[in-house]
Amino acid sequence: MNSSIWNARWMQALSPILFALVFLGLWQLAGWLTPTYQLPTVVETWNAMLQKPWVLLKHGLYTLWPTLIGFGVAIVVGVVMGLSMGMSKFVYQGAYPILVFFNALPKVAIAPILVLSFPSSFELAVWMAFLICFFPIVVNVATSAATVDREMEDVLRALGAGKWTIAWKVSLPQATPHIFGALKIAVTLAFIGTIIAEQQNANEGLGWFITVASANSQTALGFAALVVLGVESVILYAIFAVMEARTARWAFRSH
């Protein structure tokens, strides 16, 4: 038995807090040793947040909306397209290489081109968020939908079930944990799209705010914006992680 204090249950529960404190401590130390415009300390960042809480919140929401919209559209379009792809070998074979190509394409490279089509920063951000999330969602849904048990399919087809009924009753629930797993990753990517868009062309949003703060050497303010962004991203990540665990429960209920 290893009964060292580090393995005690309460110690394990406490360890994330301990590590966070150590991390903040190191950050504070590093901040002291470097000029503020390079690396502000924790306290300076905190003060910057307290200084302009409403401004940060406003820009945080500006960034959140297009991200959620682009993300939501990507879910709907991606799930429908993924299911239809999974249903037909022909479409699956044909569309897969294209999807892989677009998925592999660095989306940062698309932003300057999309700016021409979408001069409004909001639209641009929606599109960027959409583009970044869309492909992982389609690929996950399609792969999962394409692997329906043959005999299960026969059982339902013999009852007169069409392809969409089978997709709805079997493929989709079977794919759900994978979808949420993909969404969990995709939602953090969605912010990349929005931030890139805002840094291209905007006068609001956290992406714009960070660019301006950095241009004015207000590094502490930039860090404060990063913290807001991180919190938003983590909250969405956590929501989908919980959904994934809930919908995947059947896969682990084996005792």
């Binding site: 059982v155 009753k169 629930p173 209920r253």
Partner: protein
Amino acid sequence: MQDDSDKTAGLSLQRVGLTYPGHGGVHALDEISFDVPEGDFVAVVGPSGCGKSSLMKLVSGLLPPTTGEVRNRGALVAGPADTVGMGFQNPSLLPWRSAIDNVLLPLEVVKRYRSELRTKAGKAKHRARAMHLLETVGLQDAAELTPAQLSGGMRQRVSLCRALIHEPSVLILDEPFGALDAFTREDLWGVLYRLWREAQFTCVLVTHDLREASLLASKVVVLSNRPANIMSIETPPMGHPRNADMLYQPEMVAFVRGLRDQIGRAMARGPAAEASA
């Protein structure tokens, strides 16, 4: 509903042949003809790969025959019809649904039940029916468990209930007990036999187990190697109702041995022996 259907006619296969389409398509079934009277129990046996599963796809309407025709109650089988229930060796239950919700699945698909499930009363009624079916197969305490929490035999029982919940006129089983151990299999013979005696559906059972075929069926159809033809149709020497003890009576032992010899001969001379070389 047109009424060219004849309630007493049962299932009828007339010179049914099947060649899978495509390059060098496999000629699976040559010319199969047999009738199953309404409410009767027929077993289909034959060498592995001779086309038994393919034949069941034709009977269920999942595949159209290349030649000949299949009729159910006099009506041509031209595609999937919800009057058929199917069960396979793999129970293929949905792992995210409880046993009872798996049993209810067909009702969510079959048109005439789908509307009934929209009301609370309809839902309760059919849930009670599903529960009753589960009781019949001895799973009254397992209704809320998920497939992962069930044993192989229990899963196959759920699968049987699912195949029967929409009250099909024909039950098609393709080696349903093939993956089970000997004791569980014998147990399920009893379960299936009782279900059949009670509900009086027409049953077609594909099996590799000649004792199973002889014990349960009124007629045993013996198929030849691929492309399958009927070698003979045998009648087990016992009337209904049956019980497992009958398997040990000399007439039955001789009957099973007779089946075995026939299939042995089919395997020794069939074209599949060349094809697999």
